[in-house]
Every structure is written in C-alpha cells, then in structure tokens.
C-alpha cells in the first residue's frame, strides 16, 4: 500500500514537473520513462526488493557493500539493454556460481519491476 501511494506520488510529481515545464501532455513516452527510472531506483535501493546496495556501490545510495563491482558506466559495459536485463533477471546465465540473486528466475522482482530496475541501472 505504501508502495502504491509512493508510486502515485512519483507519478504525480513527474506529471506536475512536466506541467511546470510547460509540456503539453504529462505522460509522454519520456515522462513515463522518467517515472519508471525513479521507481526503478527506489526498487533497487529498497532492502525488501532489489537491495542491490547490499553488494554494489550505486551513485545516490548509502552504505553500499562491495561483493559485486560498482555499478558505473553501465551504458558502455552493457550497450544492449536486453543483456543488462538478462544479468539482473538471472545472473547465473553468465556465472553459474554467482552469489548474485536470480531476481527474475526466483520471483524476487516481477517482470515489470525488473524492467524498471534495468532502466534505472542503464542510466548509471
């Protein structure tokens, strides 16, 4: 429920922001993307969801772990969005022994949540 309210409030504030900037319709493709990215960031930092900070340093997060590499320059490391998504969906495809949580395969995050997390990570 809290998530839901938060979700609405991000959407609303993005809408308000877009309105302030004088853009016509609030939910253009870009605004929707921005909302997804914001939500993706929230999911990535949420201890009960992605909790990526447990293992990765991510700009904007505090007390990061260092089991995995810092998530920086993601577009150059993962030019293809789908490859990045696959790494997050099930890291075992690239490294069968990985300690990284198979977020999609083990239903820790839903498909939509993984899309949003991937969009956020791709901006780093």
């Amino acid at each position: 429920m809290q998530d839901f309210i938060h979700n609405i409030s991000t959407t609303v504030s993005v809408a308000a922001l877009t309105a302030c900037l004088g853009l016509a319709t609030p939910l253009t493709a870009n605004a929707a993307d921005d909302a997804d990215i914001a939500k993706g960031k929230e999911l990535s930092f949420d201890r009960k969801k992605g909790n990526c900070l447990a293992c990765h340093d991510i700009a904007g997060g505090s007390l990061p772990g260092n089991i995995g590499p810092p998530l920086v320059a993601m577009k150059s490391r993962f030019p293809e969005f789908d490859k990045l998504r696959a790494q997050i969906y099930d890291a075992r495809k690239n490294n069968p022994d990985t300690i990284m949580v198979p977020f999609g395969a083990h239903a820790v995050l839903t498909d939509t949540e993984i899309d949003m997390v991937t969009k956020f990570i791709h901006t780093l």
Partner: protein, 283 residues
C-alpha cells in the same frame, strides 16, 4: 496468488551443489590452506575471533566492549542452574563428570549406537530429561546460559572433533558439508557464498566473517539479539544458523534438527585445532 506460489516453490528449492568427494582430512587441509592464502597476515589462531580477526577497525571497538562483557552475568546464571539440584537430588554434574576440566572441545561427536550427531546442547537437554526434568528450549535462555558456563570452563581447550570414519559418521559429515555449500532460499545463497567466498567483503554495511573459527565462540551474546522481542542477547549456534538461513529467505530448519547437527559437525570439524573462546560478544 501465482506470485505467492512461485515464491513458495523457490523457498523449497535448493540447488544441489557439486561438492568435492574429498575425505574429511583433505577437506580440513584445503579449508585451512584457503584461508591462510586469502588472509596472509592473519595468524590461524586468530580466526576464533570471527570478523574481528580480519577487520582491525571493528576489532578495537569490540575489545573495548569485551572489557565489561555483557555475557558475564549469563555465565553466572548458567553456573547457578548447573549446580541447582534436580527433583531427584542430582544435578548437571552427574551427566558431565569432567565439566570443570573443560568438555566442550569434544562436541559435536558422532554416536554410532544412536546413529546421531551429539551436540553439547543435546547433552544438556538429555541430562534434564534423563533425570525427569523438563528440557530447555533450544535457542536461547537457560540452554544458552548453561552452555555459556560449560563453554567458559572449556576456554582455551583445543577443538577436537573426531574425524568421521565410519559410513554413518561420514554420511552425517557429508550432509553437513552439503548444507554448507548448497545454495538455498529465494535469494539463492550458500553459507560458503558469504563465509568462504566473501569473508572480508561487505554485504551492505556488514563485513562478512570467515567460516574458519565460527563455532569457537558460541554461545554468543549479540547486540542484535538483545531487544524486547529478540531476547536478552544470548543465543546458540543453531540460532545463528536459523538467522543466516532466514536472511536468504530460506525456511530455517529446527534447532537440533538432523540437518543443523550435521552442519555443526562439518562446520566444527573445519575448525579443529583452534582454541575455544566462548562465550563471546558479537554485533
């Protein structure tokens, strides 16, 4: 609902690891060599201090706290309970004739007659029930106090788990080894992922301890076990196992289940030759 079912099914899912078929002696040698190589400056006898063996900053803070150890009153409570007469006039000493000399170093051991791994906690409760008393709860409270007293009297003794040699003992050992290396829970992590592959690394703000030396300090007083719903701080090794299983969203096994006794058997055997220093203090 579908998501719930999916989550449930992964909770029950455990990947079977490919664990080596090495003998216990070889395992022990390799385990030791691995940590020696990984932390070249850490003397092997220091591993009994958990994460403080490898992290200087938290070690200093810990040493300060150890000057007035919060577990001390529980050693006294344990002593009191230990010496209190049962209804039949006997006391714990009747089951542990050598307790003053230190006995914890021989736990756990494999008992051929019953086909079971025997733990110190198991023997504490067996003493109670054999004498017509009610058993203690397994994870905290009186069992941890009596355990702390016995551990205290055993401080400085060298962990001396007998090498499993019979087929039944080896089966229990291998079951524990399997647990240690098997990925489990929705988050799909093994004990080894955190305490063998990543000691010294940080998971969020926590520095992971090496598995070598893990059992030496138990029972422990943990700050995070001291709160209105967690208890007075004291807890057993199996309480810790349950906590670490839960962290990866796996269903914990029951304390003193065959599964955890087997894990303790393997886990403690890996620390053979190190000194006991329980009870101790942990974050």
């Amino acid at each position: 609902m579908k998501k719930y079912l999916a989550a449930l099914s992964v909770l029950l899912m455990i990947a079977t690891p490919v664990v080596s078929q090495a003998s216990p002696e070889e395992d022990l040698k390799n385990f030791r060599a691995y940590f020696k190589d990984r932390f070249k400056d850490v003397p092997v006898e220091d591993y009994i201090n958990g994460v403080y063996a490898i992290d200087q900053a938290s070690r200093e803070q810990w040493e300060q706290y150890e000057e007035f150890p919060p577990y001390e009153i529980y050693i006294s409570k344990g002593e009191e309970i230990f010496n209190k007469k049962f209804a039949n006039g006997k006391s714990f000493a009747s089951c542990f004739p050598n307790y003053k000399k230190g006995i914890k170093q021989n736990y756990p051991y494999f008992d051929e007659a019953s086909g079971q791994v025997v733990t110190m906690e198991g023997d504490i409760n067996k003493c109670l029930t054999d004498n017509g008393e009610e058993a203690f709860k397994w994870q905290k409270g009186k069992i941890a106090y009596v355990g702390a007293y016995i551990a205290y009297l055993s401080r400085g003794k060298t962990i001396n788990v007998k090498t499993p040699s019979t087929p039944a003992a080896l089966a229990a050992y291998n079951k524990g080894k399997q647990h240690f290396y098997a990925k489990r829970g929705q988050l799909n992590m093994s004990c080894a992922d955190c305490h063998y592959n990543n000691p010294g690394n940080k998971i969020r703000a926590d520095i992971l301890s090496p598995a070598l030396g893990h059992p030496s300090g138990f029972p422990v007083y943990r700050n995070s076990w001291a709160s209105s719903d967690a208890g007075d701080g004291m807890g057993t090794l199996h309480r810790r196992y349950g906590g670490c299983n839960k962290q990866v969203r796996a269903k914990p096994f029951k304390p003193q289940s065959d599964e955890y006794k087997a894990l303790e058997y393997f886990h403690t055997y890996m620390s053979n030759g190190l000194k006991l220093n329980g009870p101790s203090l942990r974050k």
